[in-house]
Structure formats: C-alpha cells, structure tokens
Point group: C2
Chain length 472, copies 2
C-alpha cells in the first residue's frame, strides 16, 4: 500500500514547521540585524526606516532554510542612485559577514550570518499604488498576508513551498523562473489549502486567472494583454500579475507534479534524493549511451551579479539554440550551468552535430523575374555551388557547399559573422568571444568537478524530472 | 559574339520544317492508314467515320518526329465498352505492326509503322459541348486550328514545340506532365509568334489566364476554382483549361528557359546534346561526390499500359517521399525511372539516410489532463522509452527508441504496417510488396544498363537542367 496523501503531508509538516527553539534563534537574529541596520542608517544620517519582511515576518518560512529579509524604506524624494552609491556601501561596511551583491529590479545585499541568508533591501515608503521601485510593494504584501493568512493556512503555505522547492518550481529569481513566496501564499489564500490547490491546479488550462480581491473565476480582459498562461492578480496591486515571471516549464511542471502527487503520493516530491556523485567513468558511460551528441559551449568570465549573469546566460542559450536550428543542426534540449562566479556553459543535446557537406538552398519562385535573375547570377557559376540551380515545383533551388559542418565551426563562424545572428549580451560578450570553448561528448568531462557541474550534467542527461516515478 | 536569337531561330526552322519529300511520304502513309482503318470498321459493321487528326492534320508536326493520329468517330449511342471489347481488337488484328496498348482517358492503340508512331483513337461524333469522351474535342481542335493558324504561325508553333521538347516541357502524357500540342498552338495563336510567346511567358505570374475567344487579359473567376497557375481556355470549350495537367516544374521550367533563351541564345535549348554513355567507374565517382545519400527503391512488375504505370509510379514517389519526411529522413529530391515494361524505380536523394537510435516524440500540452495521463501511461514505463518523459515549455515530450533507422528498414516497416501511411496503387501493389529492393549509393549501379536507366540516373545526379548554361 502506498502512503495516502494525508500521511505524506503529515510527515512533511513535521519537517517544515520550525521548532520553538529555531523560531527563537531567528527572532533574535532578526531583531539584532534590524537594530544594526537601523543604527547604521541613523548614524549616516539617512532618513530610513528598517523593518523585517518576507516569509519570516509572515511566519511562512521553512524550518532549516529560512531567509531573513531586512527592508530599509526611504522617503520617495531620495534618488535611487544614492542607494547604490551611499546606502548599500555603508551597510556593507557596517555588517561583518560574507556579502554577495544581488540584483532584482534594483541592487540589494545578501549576507550569510549563522548559516542564514540575510537580504538587506532598500525600498521607498510610498502610498499604495504610487510605486517607485519593485520592492515598495513588499511591506504591503507582508501586511496583507499577516492579516489574511490563518495559522492553518501558514502550514499549508509551508507545505506548498516545500513541494515547489522539491519539484524545482519554487523561486522568482531569473535562474529558476518559478513561483515566488508571495505567489504561493496568494494561491493558498485563494484555494484555502495545499490539497485544494493541487487538485485545482491539476485542471488548470491556459489562461488561468485568479483574483482573490474580486469574484472568483471572473474573466479578466487584462489576461490577454499580459500574455501569461497564469495570471494571479496581486491582492495589493490589481495591475500586477504575481505569476508574470513564471516560465512555462515551471508552471506546467507544477501542474503535472500536482496530478502525479495525487496519483502516486510520496515524500520524494517534497524532499528529492540528494545528488549522488558519479565517477568520471560513470559519466563517460552515460554519454556513450545517450545516443545523441552533447555539446558544452563553455566560457570563463568575471564575476557579475548572479541575477544579471543568469539573465544573460539564458539569452545566450536561446540565441545559440535558435542559431543551431537555423543552420540545420537539430538541437533537442538545452540547459545552462554556471558556478555563479567565473565559469558558465550552455549544454545542448543534438540530433545532428555533423552535417553533410552540401546544403540545399531555396531560392525565389520562378515567377519573380528579378529575384530569379539575381539568384542565377549569384549561384550559376559560383565556386561554392555544388549542383544546380534547378527548379523544384515553382521555385529555384541550389545545392551549396556547406561552410559550417560542426558546432565548433558554427561558434567560430558566429563570432566572426554578425549576419549569423548570434547575440551575446554586453556584459558577457568579450569574455564569450575571447575564451569560449566547444566541448563535445566525452570532452565535456573536462568540466567535471566544477561547482554544481556534475549535478547539472547528470540531471541534463537524465532529462526526466526526479519526481516522476513509476506507480507501483 | 553569341548568336542572336533570330539567327538561332533560323537555324532551328531549317531543321523542324518538313521537306516536300517528307510531307509526301507522310501523306501517303496517312491516306493508306485512314483507308485501312475505315475498311476494317466497315467490314466489321461498325458505323465509324475515320479521319486524320493531330499535328499532321494541322501541319504543325516536326520534321523527323511526326506522329500520325487516326481518329475513328462513332455515334454517341455506341457503348464505350464496345471500343475496348470489339473495335480496338478488330483494328489490332487488321493492322500488322508493333502495337502498344495506350490509355489516356480511354484506351487507344499505338502502332509503329515505317518508324512513324501511329495512334488509332476512338471518339464520339457529338455536337460541340455534348462531350461524351475526352477525345471528342480533337476533331473540333483540328478544325479550329486549320481555320486560325496562318502559314507563318505554323512555323512559330513548330519552333515552340521543338523548344519545349528540348527543355523537357513538351507532352501531355502523365510521364511528362508538360504542354500538349493543342496548348502550344493556342499559345502561338494568342501571342502570334514564338518570340512574343517567350517574351510574355518570361513575365508570367500566377495566375495567368489566357482566353483567345474573349477579350485579352480579362480576369476569369473560373481560375480560382480550377486551381492551376496557368489557365488557357480551350477555344472550343470555355469550361476546359488546356493547361490543367501541366505540372509546376514543367510550367516554370518553360518560363525560366524562355528568359534564359533571350539572355543567352543558342540552339541547345531546341536540340539538347545526346546523352553520352558513362562507365560504371564514372557513375561510381559521381555517386561518391554527391555528398548525400542516394537510394533507389526498385521493383519488377508485369507490363501495364504506360500512362497507367506512370500515374501509379508518380503516386508511389509522392507517398514514399512524404513517408520519409514524416519519419525524419530528409529527402531532398526524387525522380521516377521506368523501362515502361517490367522494371521501375524511385530515385531519392537524402540528407539523412541513417538516423540516430533515439527519436524525440512530442506529447500533449500538460494542460490537457486526460491526454497527458494517456501519454504518461504509454511512455513512463515502456521498454522502448529511452529517456523521460519530461516537460518542454508547456508540453510533454519523450525520447523513444527509434525502430526505423534506414531506408531499407523504412520500406520493410511500411509494407508491414499500414499506419505508416505508404500507399501503393492497386495495380502495382502486389509487385511492389513482393519484390521491392532498396539499393543505396554504389549498390544502385546494379541497375545500370537497363532501358533508359543510365540517362535517368545521370540527369538525376546532375540536377541542373541541361539548357541552363553559363553566359560567356
């Protein structure tokens, strides 16, 4: 007998709800940091007001994996430039801990203190609706959730966050493109419980529109304009879709896993097995049995803010796979790996990584006289014409010598010739040009051992999501 | 200095206009055969009336390559079945010569007498418009052209027929799918001369509508219904498009060659060089330098009426290349060869004749719950699932073992499994099933030496039409 879903949820609940001792430790840390930041601001003469926000303030954080969000709100008269140039440097100086510069819509700081990730985020103190920056809504969100989430719903939200983390659909950061904490909590408010949410999500069809501040199920004309398959109206801002940044695969992964959890309940959706390291020989065997070619387009770069880095890597991935498709390579899947410091790679699986030496090129319809003459002038006596031109139905076609036969040739050609249309965003462009390497199949193993690479490669080769298991 | 186009036409005219002696020989043959057939019919008691039709009757035949069309017209009360069962057998018995059974819309006979091809064709004697069979229009066509074609235009028609033969666009038979004699003569009537026809054809854009019995250039609503890019209204039947059976490549080949003849005049458009036989070693080298794979799907069959045979072969070609495309082989070009007796083959050039052992299969959108469950049930634990399923954007996909990796495997599988959708027309079906062979690359050389095969292969490998030469 498999576990019933309620049994599973009971087991998960025990792990995600923090103990009194853990709450106490977090409270003390929160109070201490709030005080520290307030003192720093006061001393420097910034008229800022510090508060604790996020899942800790809303009591929806997960035991053992709390983030602490410390917000500093400033009068709307302050220039945003001052945050970057004066406020954040002052705070960075004042708090002694490992610090990472972060960037969402604007810069903020991440500290690691007592194994807790602490975000210190500037925002404006504004009236509802008069938003000056993306984080200005957060205090209103916290206020709203504190008012509306019951104790029971806070447990349901914790279950949902753990579920979404387990199936890799949680997190609004660009790297993930998943559900934000606010979005999860709004779903729980809307559907009242974890179970009802996954039951309802199982039947979601685009476009799904949820608006808890209005009548349930009312169609909203904004949906079409917004262009997302899932529209969850921000309860404190009717013009904002909380799910706007959720990528398709994360949305539908959640829907599919919601169904599967009901059909085949288990705790592994919430707590996926840890990655078991593999030997080089094991990876080598995996690659040999992939039955397709795998290429890693890898390059080193200076450290840049992770959110910016991931945004740019995803753009390179898209541009690169589109380029491959245009050039008759048949990319089947791709993913991005990065150590978030100096090293990143696009992994691509291809049906064809070596192309025939000749390429059929379609010309104009014969009925277009000038285009046809131009086509004949270009190809009839050209050195790189292999065969033809000839007429196929109503068009000219010609067989041309193919210049680009392999992925390494493709990347080199794309760097030289902008007409091939590979776009590499500015901040990575020079690094990419100067030290990009294409590693194919077994050569990819040279990257093993880099931060997170083994797991990324392993999951890429497996393709199937870890939560999708046979029902026994 | 290249020849001027007028110089070229003068040279061609000398060859295509029959001498008095040749005319005399043809006249005598025509009279003799007309009398013979009339006597056979009279003796057998058929109330038939024999006449000479076609290009000989219209004086538009080409020197050295005349056909003789002997028509026997019968009262509309005669059953069509009687033609096949009584009339044609009687004629076949009565005329001693090599005989081929032919079939257009209905059966007729072809004799070879004194190196002249003689067609004996039954038709109905009907009022204009009351057509009972496709050949009933012919006597009206002959009458119309005798009335309207001037002596000068008959020369122009001869030039055009020779041009179209030279560029392979002449002939209404299914094998060719080109311009009929009646169509050529109607074009000459419409444009008055060879030169004006090619000048005008150079600018043809679909849909071209010509109607000499109406105002020139008047748009005709029938064009859309008819669905052909070229509509030439039959001057004796406003409901009929003389160009309905002209295939796209023949139409646009004519248009392209018309332009090229003006740009780069020469006699080779009219009299292409004879095929120079190649050695096996030469073919072997050609195949090796093709840079793609070539497959011949070859089979033996009982002799069937050539027009029926070609119709069925073209259907097999279409169905076979569509099947290849559906199965991820990338056919680039194809053609049909037949000795018109017992042996035929589909020749295909492919970008990929060996496929990877794994095949990505796209499933339903995740939002379709039942389809998704069905997809998971089918693939999650299936033995032939290589990887996945996983979610790509909003859809399930899965990597399946590919069963069909090569063209021989494809043909075998398609014969066994009707769901693959290969359709072989009835009359060839059993022969195809029982003895189809797939020959690839060098193995194709086994077919060398068969009637017309060497030339067909040579032209297929070259791809470029012979008339398309560099302008020096």
């Amino acid at each position: 007998m498999p576990d019933s879903i309620q049994t599973v949820l009971d087991q998960v609940a025990k792990k995600v709800v923090p103990s009194m001792a853990e709450r106490e430790r977090m409270s003390q840390l929160a109070d201490r940091l709030k005080g520290q930041v307030q003192t720093i601001l006061d001393k420097a003469g910034f008229r800022g007001n510090v508060s604790v926000q996020g899942s800790f303030a809303r009591d929806t954080w997960l035991s053992g994996e709390a983030d602490l969000d410390i917000f500093a709100s400033f009068p709307p008269t302050m220039e945003r430039r001052e945050w970057t140039e004066r406020v954040l440097p002052e705070i960075r100086k004042g708090i002694r801990a490992k610090t990472i510069d972060r960037y969402a819509e604007h810069p903020y700081l991440e500290f690691h203190i007592d194994n807790i990730r602490v975000n210190v985020v500037p925002c404006y103190s504004v009236e509802k609706g008069d938003w000056k920056s993306a984080t200005d809504r957060t205090p209103y969100h916290t206020e709203y959730m504190k008012q509306h989430l019951t104790k029971e719903m806070r447990l349901e939200a914790r279950l949902m966050k753990r579920f979404m983390k387990g199936i890799r659909s949680y997190g609004a950061e660009i790297r993930v493109g998943g559900f934000s904490g606010m979005l999860v909590e709004t779903l729980i408010l809307h559907y009242r419980s974890f179970l009802e949410t996954i039951v309802q999500a199982s039947t979601w069809k685009p476009i799904i529109i949820l608006d808890i501040e209005k009548a349930i199920g009312s169609q909203d004309p904004r949906a079409r304009e917004i262009g997302s398959p899932l529209v969850v109206i921000d309860p404190i801002d009717p013009n904002r879709n909380l799910a706007a940044a959720v990528r398709d695969d994360k949305l539908w992964g959640f829907v599919a896993a919601s169904r599967q959890l009901q059909k085949n309940p288990g705790t592994w959706y919430f707590f996926p097995p840890k990655f078991k390291p593999k030997t080089k020989a094991q990876f080598s065997k995996l690659l040999a049995h992939q039955n397709r070619d795998v290429a890693a387009i890898s390059f080193e770069h200076a450290p840049i803010v992770p959110d910016v880095l991931w945004g740019q890597l995803l753009k390179i991935e898209k541009s690169m796979t589109e380029l491959m498709t245009r050039q008759d390579f048949h990319p089947v899947r791709s993913t991005v790996w990065s150590d978030e410091a100096r090293s990143s790679a696009i992994l691509v699986e291809l049906d064809a990584s070596i192309l025939p030496e000749v390429q059929l090129r379609e010309g104009p319809p014969v009925s277009k006289m000038d285009d046809s003459q131009g086509f004949l002038d270009r190809h009839l006596d050209a050195r790189d014409t292999v065969r033809g031109p000839w007429i196929e139905a109503d068009r000219w076609v010609v067989d041309k010598e193919r210049r680009i036969l392999s992925i390494p040739q493709l990347v080199i050609a794309a760097l030289k010739d902008p007409r091939l249309g590979l776009t590499v965003p500015d901040q990575l462009n020079n690094y990419f040009r100067q030290n990009v390497r294409v590693l194919e199949n077994r050569k990819i193993l040279a990257l093993l051992g880099r931060e997170g690479f083994d797991q990324a490669l392993s999951e890429f080769l497996a393709a199937k999501p870890a939560w999708l298991k046979t029902h026994h």
